[in-house]
Symmetry: C2
Subunit: 705 residues, 2 copies
């Protein structure tokens, strides 16, 4: 096992371990012990860092969005992490569901105090906007899973900001931001998620009392999923079908008090509880909520966009759809950023572990190689680093685009919104599904140890795979994008101008095949031609089906599989394009080696996707077998070129151990020691013999059961 | 929401629900209540079953392996499930880790008694062999996760059977089969899994006392992962490096007592404990195990294959490798069967839910369609049914092949073993990774509700994704297969005969491209040509690298990515081939409609994989763009053709609700009622206000924290 393990043997004999911990109690293992033991870092990781040939902090700054952002982030992190309050004595996952929730509430309150007293004063509400990633980073140190307060600042406050009148904002926001009340956002019901027009909760206006009557007519109309709803929140934004003067005006948001502010008891007519164990989010008390003719004051309807007057008259103020579009897009930009961040964590864990882990024998007698030296392992991991960069830069770019469109909207110009909406839809779909798949690839690349919760990889996956579903299901979002693409294609066909992100159609619609060339720009152009080709074949299929007598909607539906693939191809081309352009732009003034490694990662990403889509390239461009073979060669050369910088690249993500929370990914690489330390915290190890032996095992073994 | 929800509204008002359960305690919800409520089945499912056009039990018999096997299975199931002992009052996942383990021990003992007293007497040890799937089915009703006893009958007993001398067997087997002792199998260590030659635990023979001294020299040599090791087992097969007369003879198995039979205390010199929370298997007390110069009698080494005489002389009896090959192959056959079974569960859950769930509006005003009517949903689900069939039939076929080779081996002929080993390696790799991916696809196809643990889909995934790693990692196994394929290719090149499963090479090595034809046999042949093409390019890459001065092993290593892809293509072709042949064979005497639907599923599988690999088809066969388009059309026609029989097809898997354990997949389709019933069992719902409110929330909200 080479010098590393000799080192281990000296530093800690297993017996010493066992004697120290065999009768330990959960409260006797302080985080400080880990800190102490951390002194002797893993030698292989030290070597890796020594051989890294670029300035790590340069790339950190690029990913943060500039050196100033890095400084601010580090400042906030040091505030949040300095006092050690973020660390659990007992690992969250060794507690029962109830204790886990109570521990999460404890930490949420501690964390909230830190944010209120120290962070907000530092940054102002900016941390809730484009900068919210900084808050999330620090929050992840406090919550291995998630805080029950997530939707208070995440949805409750923003909804009041976005849809409340000035009066409503001045009444509710101070109380909410001061945490005098804690709220959440309840839209999804047991029976309806995707199709929000189908929501069944009703809000019927009663002019006599000037109240709305909120009601859940049936089981399927129960609200379901809202985070922090089950036990924590005493207020809630409820989305319900508005009825007034005998007419239904569709869904609107209402602020509803659900628990007594003093006793926290559910109020009469309110049915609220927790929805039970989930794949993830198990500290967020996701809840159900039903109403039995529950009355709220008229002015608890959020009335910025539409109002109900005292007499029950319905008045539309602003175009509801356009504005909710805005919120949706905002949330999606945040999500792309968030999954990029979590993928970066997984890549950090897997790459560091792969530098520490040694296995097998390449040449007999030689020391076992680090598993990161296997090309198959590099193939699994390096694309994860590249994708984290691609998504991070795409999300920063999307944020800029969004801000611009928002500015236009304030000026009354909403013509760019459909394009932005289509773009944010497919970017949300692909970034969440790519990240989930690659996080799982990182976990599998860590073998059995990746299956340990203490690696943090399973939790990262549970968390990120959920983003593929909420805020717009993968397939539904890509079909929305496809609608936009088909319209654009028809415009291009008829020679009309199309918007920037689909301008490639104007050239592709002519129908000649693009001649492959191995350059980055060439691969991107080919990707656009692939998208065009798939859109074109979808159009053909739809028209063929209509010619055979199908109505458009049926023809569209039957072509769904191809439409999803077309939207995915379009989005992939956009990501490749943005990733390339942003890389070039952001490294313009970087030192040569940073330029080189960022370019290698970008080329790796482009070649990877070209090789994943050889069928499309051969079908929709004039790529040849030789082109593919040389692309494969190029890809394998890039793996070798990136290898020496791999650890440096994940170090550049700059995750403190408290945020990474992984036995396999800690900076010092003390993988096996940490695995054992965590194992010894298992409640089952608190006593040498479990009571079930006397109760069941012994009688069974003695044939007396 | 159409009549279904009207029905719901009448049958149970949410208020009734809440009043009934709002102050419930965990022990007040008996399974009988559910049974009672189950009377009114979902109307849509009833309609689906009415329109199914084939005899469901015919397909059940085919999958079971004959009507007799079905009868026996049902008999065993009724024995195991009849007494209700399999049902938990409190859902496993609402307990803390320790309570979950204790509950698992309780049930393991109950289940063991049933198996000992009633099942074994019925079937004999046969249930441990090819028929073990029946035991697993019933066990799954008792353990939502897994039993701590799993490796006792799964590995401890079989290893003694396979590697113990007759004397050792007659001493140990009766005690083990009577559960007087409970054992497990400890091979993997913290530092070594894949590379077993690198295991670090030592067993040094001491001729003076005629004992072996078992020792763990360092932390990385601790055994890690063995199921049932942490708290349950008092005996353990330990795989260790055998040292005698100053020489190391490599790894050998030893029977080691680790706990006192009476007190269950770990014996002096034994360090044993549980390894902490995992992604799954959390009721199996997977353990760690270390030794401090721990002594065991000489005859506790399993000596069937090699012996250490009293004086310490080492004697090799049988070819160790060949025989362990046999065990490995057997375990892999079982695994293919097991993942097919779990994929069938996931498909059942997702298809039934998709028939119950209604969402969106195809035509405005019309009732919302069942989501199974969306072609995108059919695209996700029907391939899961087909794959479950493909893997089930492949595993049955592999079992027959294995038995034949085993018979040859007893006759001293081991020449077919390398081929069988290569075959079982890649089948294990592909079946586990396909199943895991498709189970996840089923979960995602169920949207948010699939994320609830009560759907059972997350647990099915956690369980199956582990099989991708243990008993041979996906990548490692495919590289093993690749070694066999490259050798075979070189033989074919030099005109020498090759073994049956690679006979396609003899034709392909000539180098002419196969002309695509849409028939099943045509697609299968194309798949073989794709495999040949990928093997050939791998060979070219390796030779090119060697020409550039690389040693063979380095050239091989650098070509790893292509070699894995080649092995995967080979295995895919074999599965397609076996699935086709077995379908034709097994439906030879079936009724016409069963023939039709089984053929449709098979064609769906073949077309699906053709469309997934268009790049390979265009590169390695003379498939044209038109061929691909018609294949896509054919595929979409098959989705439509299978749609009316979808529910019938999953009913044919014949899972009792107790085994399926899913709120979304139960036979009666009472999805929303079950979701709410399970939610109300959450410990957080046992009291209206959680204590953390008084402790933390209230002080925070009043600014007094």
């Amino acid at each position: 096992m080479g010098t590393r393990c000799e080192g281990l043997r000296d530093s800690l004999s297993p017996i010493a371990y066992y004697e120290e911990y065999s009768h330990f109690r959960l409260d006797c293992l302080k985080i400080d012990d880990n800190k102490e033991l951390s002194m002797s870092a893993n030698e292989d990781l030290a070597k890796e860092r020594a051989r890294c040939d670029f300035n790590v902090s340069e790339i950190t700054n690029i990913l943060d969005g500039g050196i100033e952002r890095t400084k601010q982030r580090k400042k906030i992190e040091s505030i949040a992490l300095s006092n050690g309050k973020c660390c659990d004595v007992t690992p969250e996952e060794t507690l029962g569901p109830k204790e886990r929730y109570e521990n999460a509430i404890r930490k949420s309150c501690l964390y909230t105090k830190i944010v209120k007293d120290q962070v907000l004063t530092l940054t102002g509400l900016e941390v809730l906007g484009s900068n919210s990633s900084v808050l999330r980073r620090t929050a992840d140190a406090f919550f291995k899973d998630i805080s029950p307060f997530l939707l208070h600042l995440g949805m409750f406050v923003p909804t009041i900001m976005g849809q409340g009148t000035p009066e409503q904002q001045s009444y509710w926001l101070p109380r909410a931001l001061d945490f005098q009340i804690i709220g959440t956002y309840a839209q999804t019901e047991l029976g309806h998620g995707t199709f929000i027009r189908g929501l069944e909760t009703t809000a019927t206006y009663d002019p006599d009392t000037e109240e709305f009557v909120i009601h859940s007519p049936r089981l399927t109309s129960y609200k379901w999923w809202a985070g922090g709803l089950g036990k924590t929140s005493n207020y809630c934004i409820v989305v319900a079908q508005l009825y007034t003067q005998g007419k239904c005006y569709g869904i609107h948001p209402f602020i509803v008090q659900i628990r007594d502010e003093d006793t926290h008891m559910p109020l009469p007519g309110v049915r609220v509880g927790e929805i039970g164990p989930r794949m993830g989010f198990n500290t967020a008390d996701n809840g159900f909520l039903g109403f039995d003719h529950y009355r709220i004051p008229r002015n608890h309807m959020l009335m910025k966009n539409s109002q109900v007057l005292k007499d029950g008259t319905y008045v539309k103020v602003a175009s509801h759809s356009k504005l909710t579009y805005g919120t949706m897009v905002f949330v999606r930009v945040m999500l792309v950023n968030e999954v990029a961040f979590n993928l970066a964590k997984a890549a950090t864990i897997a790459v560091r572990y792969s530098a520490v882990r040694r296995q097998s024998e390449k040449i007999s007698g030689e020391p076992e190689p680090q598993i990161i030296d296997y090309v198959t392992q590099q193939h699994k991991l390096f694309v994860c680093i590249a994708t984290a960069h691609a998504l991070q830069l795409s999300s920063n770019w999307l944020w800029k685009t969004f801000s611009a469109v928002l500015a236009d909207m304030r000026g009354g110009n909403t013509e760019n919104l459909p394009e932005l909406h289509a773009l944010s839809s497919c970017l949300k779909a692909l970034s969440t599904s790519d990240s989930a798949a690659l996080i799982e690839q990182c976990r599998l690349a860590c073998g059995g140890h990746g299956y340990m919760l203490s690696s943090n990889l399973p939790l990262l996956y549970s968390f990120v795979t959920a983003t593929r579903t909420y805020e717009g299901d993968y397939t539904v979002l890509l079909l929305q994008t496809a609608r936009f693409l088909i319209k654009a294609w028809e415009q291009a066909e008829s020679g009309n101008p199309v918007t920037p992100t689909v301008s490639y159609m104007e050239e592709a619609v002519v129908g000649n095949k693009y001649k492959w060339n191995g350059s980055a720009e060439g691969i991107i152009k080919a990707a656009y031609y692939v998208a065009a080709g798939k859109i074109s074949s979808s159009v053909t299929s739809i028209r063929k089906r209509m010619k055979n007598g199908k109505a458009f909607e049926d023809a569209w539906e039957l072509t769904g599989v191809q439409l999803v693939a077309a939207a995915e191809a379009h989005c992939r081309a956009v990501i490749c394009d943005v990733y390339r352009k942003e890389t070039v732009r952001l490294t313009a003034n970087s030192s040569p080696n940073v330029k080189t490694v960022m370019d290698q990662l970008n080329m790796l990403y482009l070649s990877h996707w070209a090789l994943e889509r050889t069928g499309d390239l051969l079908r929709y461009t004039s790529t040849t077998e030789d082109d593919i073979i040389s692309c494969q060669q190029r890809y394998e050369e890039l793996l070798a070129a990136i290898r020496p910088n791999a650890v440096g690249l994940v170090d550049a993500f700059d995750f403190p151990d408290e945020i990474l929370q992984s036995t396999l990914g800690a900076y010092d690489g003390r993988v096996y020691e940490r695995l054992m330390e965590e194992a010894l915290k298992s409640p089952l190890n608190a006593e040498p013999v479990n009571r079930s032996f006397h109760q069941y095992l012994k009688p069974l073994m003695q044939g007396k059961l």
